[in-house]
Amino acid sequence: MAVKLYNEPSPLETRVLSKRFGLPNSASLDTYLANDGFKAFRKAREMKPEQIVEEVKTSALRGRGGAGFPTGLKWSFVPRTSPKPKYIVINADESEPGTCKDRLLMEYDPHQMIEGILIAGLAIDSHKGYLYIRGEYRYLIDHMDRAIAEAYSKGYLGKNIAGTGFDFDLYTHSGAGAYECGEETALLDSLEGKRGIPRMKPPFPAVAGAWASPTLLNNVETFSAIPAIIRDGGAAFAALGTPKNGGTRLVCISGHVNKPGVYELPLGFPMLKAIYEVAGGIPGGKKLKAVVPGGSSCPLLKADECDIPMDYDTLAKIGSMLGSGGMVVMDETTDMVKVALRIMRFYAHESCGWCIPCREGTTWLRKILQRFDDGGGRQEDVSLLGELSKNMLGRTFCALGDAAAMPTISIVDKFAADFEKRLSAEAVPQTVMV
């Protein structure tokens, strides 16, 4: 029986990581083995660890969790000859608003990710991995536990994997509700049984990560891309995208579109084509107003900024980010004051409180935006919002403070008219902030 997909695929997709989605029993190891599964692992077993890392570098794969750091380079930072055990941690704490792709990669093709993890194990000489899944995804924790058990029972995890003499153990680990734990050092603290508080870097996790040992941390999608890279070659993967932006990625399109869904598109795919062709355009023929290009931490784009190819460098050039692939489309009826408030309510709720600029900044920004939305906005609030946000930038241990500040700065800057409209439309009552 074919698996029912969350959304209809688009003919404009380039399906590499998602090529098995929709196959009958796509999550089973047998289906995986019958469809190119573990060819890459066997090939990697014959390669030198340095060659594996080189191949990943050649692929121009960049971290799919949000930061877009070159994956091969990250792998090369792990001291594989260290006498300490090396660990692999898989970030499945998918929590960035707008992002819902790692769910599908685990649900439909768990063994692809497992194979990617094993290849990373060969590359950095690691024999243990921990799959950190957000607590809300309990069905996926159970699902991955079953996939892992199946892999053990058929010799694709545990001792002497597929007869190659390589050993690897993989475990699931449940989170319990905390956006902050998607940040890699906070995730490590959480994995160690503590509150998820970010750590000072350096040392980076590659040197001292989980339990003070060298640790390789990557996102689910990053690991899921590895088998295709090793199987077909890094150059072939790189060629799917644009220079320094290799391959495809799962783009999660949500908001005001006719066909919201998760679509696998090559890096450099035109953003407007994604909105109007892949996702079927905006309902009711309404005009585009704004786009969150890669999760709510990214500065928003105005409609006239969206005629761009979606790659990390283009987005960086126009002052935003490709982030985690969560693309939120907003039509002309969208009230940007409400958008800014909802984004800030999220960050104020999720700030772990460790760094004062983030803890206080997000709280005050939320209060000012709430007052504005309630009709008590003042002329000076618009510049105050921008000023407060800019004071948070770069002044915190982790990126949550920046993640809260950046979209806010972009909204008050690019959509000032929405704030002005509120000021002129409403009498300004004296309000007390609570």
């Binding site: 969350y6 959304n7 055990p85 998918e94 929590s95 960035e96 608003p97 707008g98 992002t99 819902c100 790692d102 769910r103 243990k128 921990y130 957000r134 607590g135 809300e136 995804y137 309990r138 069905y139 153990d169 475990y171 680990h173 449940s174 989170g175 319990a176 509700g177 905390a178 956006y179 959480s190 994995l191 160690e192 049984g193 503590k194 509150r195 998820g196 339990w211 040992s213 999660c252 399109i253 949500s254 908001g255 005001h256 919201p260 869904g261 998760v262 969150v292 709510s296 969560g326 939120v328 907003m330 969208t334 409400k338 958008v339 909802r342 984004i343 999220f346 709720h349 999720e350 772990c352």
Partner: protein, 164 residues
């Protein structure tokens, strides 16, 4: 405290998954799995997890306040979580949450007197492309309309609780 054989088996596996001397790593997963059986993170549960993970009870206690899914008071048999974060908001999540409040007669993090339902306005739970989304306990529901919400609740409401 003892748990169900399934949970005991899970815990036994969990405690040997982490490196030697690192049983503390099991604290968060153990709390959330046990909470599902016990109904809440009770003081007894904190002591039990501390004993099993070989840490001080305070080291377990301080974790409880941090994670939003851990709770010291029991929630409803059906914990209804409505997402109003940005993608859901654009697709009617805020209105759906208001509808849920009326339907269940509950506010944020409140539980019905009969313990059947509790309601929570939640942050993004990873269903953005299928918004608006609701999660009841651990079951996802996508593209939920107010009518479908009513059907979901009425389907669960077998104890004859009076819906508002």
């Amino acid at each position: 405290m003892t748990f169900s054989p399934q949970l005991e088996a899970r815990f036994a596996k969990m405690l040997i998954a982490y490196p030697e001397g690192c049983k503390r790593s099991a604290v968060v997963p153990m709390l959330i799995y046990a909470q599902d059986e016990v109904g809440a993170v009770t003081p007894e549960l904190i002591d039990e997890v501390a004993r099993r993970c070989e840490v001080a009870p305070l080291q377990v206690d301080e974790v409880v306040g941090y994670y939003s899914m851990l709770h010291r008071q029991p929630q409803g048999k059906y914990h209804v979580q409505v997402c109003t974060n940005i993608s859901c908001m654009l697709m009617g999540g805020t209105e759906l949450y208001e509808h849920a409040r009326k339907k269940l007669g509950l506010g944020h993090k409140e539980t019905t007197a009969d313990g059947q339902f509790s309601l929570e306005e939640v942050e993004c739970m990873g269903a953005c492309s299928w918004a608006p989304a609701v999660e009841i306990n651990y079951d996802f529901h996508h593209h939920v309309t107010p009518e479908q919400f009513d059907q979901l609740i009425d389907g669960l409401n077998k104890n004859g609780m009076k819906a508002h």
